[in-house]
Symmetry: C2
DNA sequence: ATTTATAATTTGTCATACAACTTTTAATTG
DNA sequence: CAATTAAAAGTTGTATGACAAATTATAAAT
């Protein structure tokens, strides 16, 4: 029943991340204590600590040098990985940046989708649009479906980079999105979806690149405006 | 001396990735053998296998369910992570998609940089532009510096999402870029950099958003054209 | 047939030992 | 004294074994 189980390895990975990004106990390039010391300091076995370190190394936060030590990635402020986004101070600003980013990318994606989508994908996009409308009418949450709607459009561009990038960044800012969405602007969000989703879907269906780009642009502009 | 040492955990992580993305031995949602069987099948200890699994779980490829098993992430084709980009068949197509993506994002980034960069960042951008020119004149490689040039512009937008996204995606497609750059179009690449980098830097320096956007657009269009 | 209890399966964690590599220190040598 | 070489100390890599904790499958009881 417990879906909230978190392994020690993950807990330790989070604690080390906090020490780096929040406490700034270990700066980029600096060396962590060796595995024996750090594991005893954190009160876990060396095996569990090693798994935690592997997690952070996979995310580009740590760099492991055999025989030498484990270090905080030097280019961590430059920055090599979107992992640190979770630790950015100003969540509100991050959400705004997220919308600005989408304002650049998604209108063009909508155009590409209108030009390149196959019939099946168009069907899926239209279906998801209608499903979201149903959910809103019944007063149910539609966050997940909204993301899927935009993901389907990204997929329909037939551009692998766009397709694979969008969800990745979305998950990186999901914390901030969740935080800011608690400050409740659900009615506005409803209106925005009801107003623009069908238009976007229709423009894509009728292969109108200009229309799709414009509709998506207004859709995201509206979302950006509703942040305040 | 050996900088090419690869831990077993990483080797095994790669082999499992290959089994998933190349051999399609394990499809999304399907279950991996238990850790005892899989470790003996792969000829490594359970501890090393576990570290490999943690790496892939961190990248969103695997999902671990305690007491139940380890599974290939269901939404792996949808897709949750850009990790799978390395395994896309057509490297040439991926590089083209990468340029198309940049063609959308970077001209706007250049505009934002022109509008928002502080003096220090402008100085860095101009410096990097001149440094690349020096390298080209001396016949030296400048791939790394070229990436830094674009990364500096991304950073100067003052948009955290743009700043953190660019390098992340770049590293994901680095394999394909490296492969395709071996087919040699270095002279064209030289010309392109020599022609446009200084213009872009100058437009940003003089706060000309329109100019910066246009110059960057032509710069990437030229790169896209040179792919063929 | 349904519920309950048991067993089997599987991941989680810890402890220990040794191997392999890197860095530091000390000794040797010219 | 300086430079080279050898030893030692420090650190990550790997393997093995044992038990805990959660889930799933099986069997028993009602």
């Amino acid at each position: 029943m417990n879906g909230e189980f978190i392994p020690v390895s993950q807990t330790i990975a989070n604690r080390i991340s906090d020490m780096i990004f929040l406490d700034k106990k270990y700066m980029p390039g600096s060396k962590l204590p060796n595995e024996y010391d750090l594991s005893s300091e954190l009160g876990v076995s060396r095996a569990s600590l090693r798994e935690a370190i592997k997690i952070l190394a996979a995310k580009g936060v740590l760099v492991i040098k055999r025989g030498s030590g484990t270090f905080v990635c030097e280019s961590l402020d430059e920055n090599d990985d979107i992992y640190g986004m979770k630790y950015l101070e100003d969540k509100k600003k991050l959400v705004k940046h997220w919308f600005e980013f989408r304002l650049i990318l998604e209108p063009k994606s909508a155009r590409l989708a209108a030009e390149n989508a196959d019939e099946k994908q168009i069907e899926e996009i239209c279906f998801m649009s209608e499903r979201i409308i149903e959910l809103i009418k019944n007063g149910k949450p539609f966050t997940k479906e909204d993301q899927q709607f935009h993901a389907l459009i990204a997929k329909a561009t037939k551009n692998d980079v766009i397709k694979l990038t969008m969800p990745s960044i979305e998950s990186a800012v999901s914390d901030a999105i969740q935080t800011s969405s608690k400050t409740g602007h659900s009615e506005k969000s409803n209106e925005n979806a009801l107003l623009y989703h069908p238009s976007i879907a229709r423009f894509i269906k009728y292969r109108d690149g200009d229309g799709a780009e414009m509709a998506m642009r207004f859709h995201i502009l509206r979302g950006l405006k509703d942040l305040e």
